[in-house]
Amino acid sequence: MTEIPLDISYKLRLRRLFWSMGYFSPLEVKLAAYAFKFGEQKRYDISDIDVMGIRFEKDLQQNIIIGDCKSGSESSINRIFWLKGVMDFFEAARGYFVQPTISDHTKQVASKLNINLLTADNFALIENEMGIGALKLFLFDIETYKRAESLWGLDIKKGDKPTNNQLALKEIYSYLDYTFWIVEDYRNIFTIIDRATDLQRFYQEFQEEKIKFLLYNVVIMLSISLLQMGGFILSTDRKNFVYQAREYMFGGMIELRERELLFRKISELVKQKLTVEPTYYNELLELVNRLVKFAIYSKDIPRYLEIVLYEYVLNDSQLTFDNIFKDYSVDTLKLTKDIAVFLCNVSGIDRKFFDKLLTL
């Protein structure tokens, strides 16, 4: 049996801990910033987050936690200050820092910064006490992790000139890897749909398994964005759903008015009536309305998608949903499908990619 590198092992174990606490838990979330250099927009990679935890409450308010894993003996005090900065950036409520050993003075600082420390011994003890050591899901499995890694991104040999479609696909990966996490939440819904619509034009050129993996991740990101929108509506004015939804989707009333003006001008120029709302706008509202109405169920959609992807798409798990989720709900499963079907309907993507989900 191959030995698992310690940092990966930590990441997968932390994912398991987060998962058992009800979080959707993406690994290696990249953090970047964009700036103009020589007239071109450039991306500057800043860092990456080993494990992120996102949980939606029953009112769809988002709760984020951040995990950082270190297998070596680098300065833990420096690292927890870095972690605190990342937590602030993502408005995370709590941080988790894992390292085989952690100095005593770090412990004093960490508690003030809302950071939980997990040394090797403590981590094992907590896992044992929480009864999650025996939790065997492909989501925490090293082989599946490697497979997922191999299916993500493009492998263009050095010296080869990428085709236009490869460049377009690369942009989609780049958006999901970096941009999604740093732009305003409301922008992501339209962007994801646009990207999926682009992808639909050329995905036949690429390996089906790769595209399927990508599409599930697209749906996961879309589900997060839609739940964020639902959270906004629930926290502002549920009764005036349509009004609130419109305000959210277009970045507030002032921005909406500006966009409408812009569309009016363009319509005059091209002599064709164009509206600020995309053609699928009403369907989108129907979907979000359903997510809001059934918020107590829709809150877990990203976790359900994660399980479908890792257990049934990447593997052939024998576990059923009610084995995996103590509070399994058909309502959640159904709403999960609603999002996938919506994406297919509006982007033209074939539903066959979501066969495993849609037949559940």
Partner: protein, 418 residues
């Protein structure tokens, strides 16, 4: 394709299906098969609206049956609903495992249904029938004008009027001068303002008196007002008479049309009438304990969204279940409860049923839990359109009452009522 808007087509398909739900699809009805299919889709989908999924397929079939969808038509109707993305059918090796519901809630779905009707390539006679029904649903028209406007041959008008008579959504009246007028009871239901105006302006008229009486006690049993004028008023659409069948046999309850509901909200109004008719049944005809305080019962359901049911009803699906208003669930104590499907439509239907009930009732006493079961008794409900159809087969029109009703309809049609 019919010349009217798609959403109107959807509504008219539903009107036709409502009227013809108990008529066997043979003879001239074969010519309306797409219309009937879409009408059934409309009726079922409007009852599913607001729900997330249904796993009890037997219950769904039962409900569909109550809505006039036979077991043979059940799967074709589901298939159509799946085509327009109103549902998803999840299958297992044993058949249908679950129906996942995505009927639009923020808009009515009639436009989608009307579009699908067009995609199904309706026959020429269906096109003409839909156009004609839509036209007379607004205002009666002379037969001669209808023939010209819709390019109807004598044979076509015979077929359409024959079906219309069977379904009580279209009829021909011969005026004293010999001219023939096409009219529809739907016109009154969709334009109740006119009949209200008539009642206000003709208070000594027999129909107006009857109308006022029923207005003050919506859902009055037919036995308490039954005479020829009532029957003719029902046939012409001036009054509506849903039927409830339960432990004491079938009973009809009379309602007046209601102002303030759009034509897209017919299903909600029908649910309200179903609730109230059911309560009236419990009040007047229940074989066991009768409902004494109907308003308190409905208020309680509105607030708690749940009623406790008697154990003997555990295997029965109640009347309200068949209307998509709720479901029966077993409680931990071995009892059964009725839980309201908390959809916007159902809450509106329930609130409106209470409003209809509140006329003439002022007290709000403590609810007697034992009596709640009466609401959930096994039974069947026939909406006003299909009850009207049944009526048309049972009733021989008398000349006097017929003339009285038709006179009103004609006046309404000509716009002579202030």
């Amino acid at each position: 394709m019919a010349d009217i808007e798609e959403y109107k087509i959807g509504i008219r398909c539903q009107d036709v299906q409502h009227g013809l739900r108990d008529v066997q699809a043979s003879g001239p009805l074969i010519d309306l098969q797409n219309t009937l299919l879409i009408g059934k889709c409309a009726t079922l989908s409007m009852h599913l609206k607001g729900l997330n999924y249904v796993e009890d397929i037997r219950a769904l079939k039962y409900m569909a049956g109550e809505l006039g969808i036979t077991s043979f038509e059940f799967e074709p109707v589901l298939s159509e609903l799946q085509t327009i993305d109103f549902i998803r059918i999840v299958k297992s090796e044993h058949g249908i495992k679950r129906i996942e519901i995505t009927v639009p809630e923020l808009r009515d779905g009639y436009e989608d249904l009307g579009r699908r009707w067009g995609d199904l390539k309706p026959t020429e006679i269906e096109n003409k029938a839909i156009n004609l029904i839509d036209c007379v649903s607004t205002i009666p028209v002379s037969l001669a004008k209808a023939k010209t406007t819709f390019r109807l041959t004598d044979k076509e008008i015979d077929i359409i009027s024959e079906i219309g008579k069977q379904g009580t959504f279209l009829d021909i009246y011969t005026m004293p001068d010999g001219s023939e007028i096409l009219y529809s009871p739907i016109a009154v239901d969709e334009n109740p303002e006119k009949i209200y105006a008539f009642v206000k302006g003709h208070q000594d008229n027999a129909v107006a008196k009857l109308f006022t009486k029923i207005q003050s006690y919506q859902g009055i049993p037919e036995d308490e007002v039954g005479d020829d004028i009532v029957k003719e008023a029902i046939l012409s659409g001036v009054l509506l008479s849903p039927t409830v069948t339960s432990s004491s046999g079938p009973k009809r309850f009379i309602f007046t049309p209601v102002i303030g509901f759009t034509e897209e909200e017919k299903i909600i109004l029908d649910k309200s009438r179903a609730i109230l008719a059911c309560v009236r049944y419990g009040q007047k005809f229940a074989s066991g304990t009768k409902i004494k305080w109907p308003r308190a019962l409905l208020q309680s359901l509105l607030l708690k969204k749940r009623l406790t049911a008697h154990p003997e009803l555990k295997d029965q699906y109640g009347l309200l279940v068949t209307k998509g208003l709720g479901r029966i669930e077993e409680t931990t104590t071995g009892f059964f409860s009725f839980t309201l499907n908390d959809t916007k439509e159902n809450m509106k239907a329930l609130s409106f049923a209470i409003q209809m009930l509140e006329i003439g009732e002022t007290q709000l006493p403590i609810v007697d839990e034992d009596k709640r079961q009466i609401l959930i008794q096994n039974g069947s409900y026939r909406d006003p359109a299909s009850s009207r159809t049944k009526y048309s087969r049972e009733l021989k029109r008398t000349k006097t009452t017929n003339d009285e009703i038709i006179k009103i309809i004609s006046q309404i049609g000509r716009g002579s009522i202030k």
